[in-house]
Symmetry: C4
Subunit: 214 residues, 4 copies
């Protein structure tokens, strides 16, 4: 069970590089095993290109290392805080992906300007206040604004996505960067109409009822 999660978290971490969401050593992905409560997370400052499944670090809910020879990501305490406070979350990703972070730099939330935002995020994508790196400040700032959207922007900083598996958190991180790019381009040419809540609901419902293989 832990081996399966380790493999999935490894795959999601290397996908961050492949999908263009991270540069050099920035960013990290983790996953939770709901039975043991153990968290699997990227080691700190390691090349994505040489990262192997066995390099991932498994920690318990207090951050004590259960398996793994490397030091876990310096952002591990933020992941642990979020898992503790959001029991349904099974995967968390942190990136500084460029287009999404350009909104975060300004403290700008992203309204439902596009049907793709309604599909994937179901609402406005919120942005936190500025949070320092002390204690649980970043985790607390995320909880203050968390809504149905699996993505949260962090002011002057970057992005967290949280969903019930690492793969779903990856999809949210990729789609966030994609819609942030489209909206950035649109906002330089004008101001798109925001979809009214009843239209957002229609797209979200279709996407979550009919989309994909069942």
């Amino acid at each position: 069970m832990l081996e399966k999660l380790r493999k999935e978290v490894w795959k999601v971490n290397i996908s961050l590089l492949k999908c263009g969401l991270v540069t050099m050593h920035s960013g990290n992905a983790s996953g939770r095993d709901f039975q043991t409560g153990y968290i699997t997370i990227k080691p700190s400052g390691v090349d994505y290109e040489t990262l192997k499944p066995e390099n991932l670090v498994i920690v318990n809910q207090n951050g004590e290392i259960i398996e793994g020879a490397l030091t876990p990501s310096v952002d591990m305490p933020i992941h642990l805080y979020l898992y503790k406070n959001l029991p349904e979350i099974g995967g968390i990703i942190h990136t500084h992906s460029n287009y999404a972070t350009s909104f975060a730099a300004l403290g700008m939330s992203i309204p439902a300007y596009l049907t793709a935002i309604a599909d994937e995020f179901g609402s406005l994508i919120p942005c936190t206040r500025y949070a320092s790196n002390e204690g649980d400040e970043i985790g607390k700032a995320i909880l203050e604004v968390k809504n149905e959207s699996p993505a949260v922007l962090i002011k002057n900083h970057g992005v967290f996505t949280l969903d019930n598996s690492p793969e779903k958190a990856l999809k949210a991180a990729v789609m966030l960067e994609d819609i942030a790019k489209t909206l950035h381009l649109a906002l330089l040419k004008g101001e798109p109409d925001i979809l009214p809540p009843e239209e957002v609901k229609k797209w979200w419902d279709r996407y979550h009822s009919w989309y994909g293989q069942r």
Copy 2:
């Protein structure tokens, strides 16, 4: 005959990813067999990277599955509506490609600012009103604005391209994103002159009379 179309539609679908027009599971391509009227279309929510020709779904004009084990794209009803109302169309593509969708987000049509637009699209590339996902709303909105251009922008949503084969619809989708990028960049620095209709006609005529191998 169906096997040939299935192969072509598969190739066009994976080209959407290769050409950078889609992200994760977004977008879809279909093709029509003019003899049987059958439509071959991408299955819903499937990775482009692992998509195989045998995963494509073949449906009749009412959307009943003729061949294929997977659920067809959630956008299949839009494709069927367009094929029914536009008898000359043999290939349809839907994407949220970033630059083109940044115009669509704003409800902006794209005038013939460049000789490449005259070559490939022959006129202004129109943008629909906002259309909800209910019934045939999107298909109807497309027909309201459809002109000689093989590409139509969908307000707050994305892009459809329609041509007499899947390969031609792919070329239109790629060229649309390319000219949308160039125009986006130009519009941030100024307002290009629009080519007068008689100049548009000269480029369109040259392109459709002399271009390529015959």
Copy 3:
């Protein structure tokens, strides 16, 4: 001798795709054999990915085919006109590369804002008036503005680079797109100082006296 040129022109053509200067079938490169006066040029509307050296078309100065089974590029008459009027030119490239064409769309010349422009282009990169596709209009418009720069922008259209070999024309096309990107980004944030002519000369002289292997 012709075989060597055919290989070089083929390599330069496929480099257009690899360097991101062309999309689908757009763009073309040619080279001149100074002994025979023959021109080697890309065939019309052929995929760069499947292009082989033997697909290139060799024509004489009147555009009559000397070797090759395919139809030459529809832009061949422009290449022939430029070779006839500029005896020192041995390679010509035409693209719609996005950043450079965004300046061309607006009819904007590019002044020497960067030391890299001084190095490679030695002066302002000029932009022509709008030219239709009739007769020698495009070639004439290029000659009206041609200066020491190996690159010329074509209003509402794209780019031509001309140098004494196909490889040098390729370098000019790549460097043009690179500096056009940097300048586009700069112009959105402010107005860079233009280098005075005596400073442009210092960089051009250094680059043409000391740069590279001799």
Copy 4:
């Protein structure tokens, strides 16, 4: 020892192309052997794709060639001047990377708008005055503004990064382009808050105390 450095400097040079920081022949990386004081540097005007470790040029502190058959980079005198005046520096990189150079074009320094800037650069990233290519003008202009940031922007020109190894200079060059892209995008939509110095210090301290494997 020199062989190890030669290999590292070669790897860093080819990484410039792989990381998208250079085009054609632009840019160069060098490294210093602290025992002998010898500098290993890229040869002038050579393709990154065909560059081999044995093509690198080793020179002494006066620029006299110790090993290597090729002419060193035309920017070698700038590297030598910086190594002479900054004894702790072991690696230097010069690029015209697009987003960073768009700030340099305008003579704009980059304040600590993002936590990633605090992490990696620890302060405002300074920009020099315009410097001609004569004598030690560029080196002097860099020393005038050099602070704790390993990156310095050069007005109307490009970027230098300097750190205690070639690999660290590479990381600074990659991260500079990454944050310059994010900030460029943000500045087109608004003006981010600048992090106060005490917050910059917290991120810098965390990054330099806890980040990575020890």
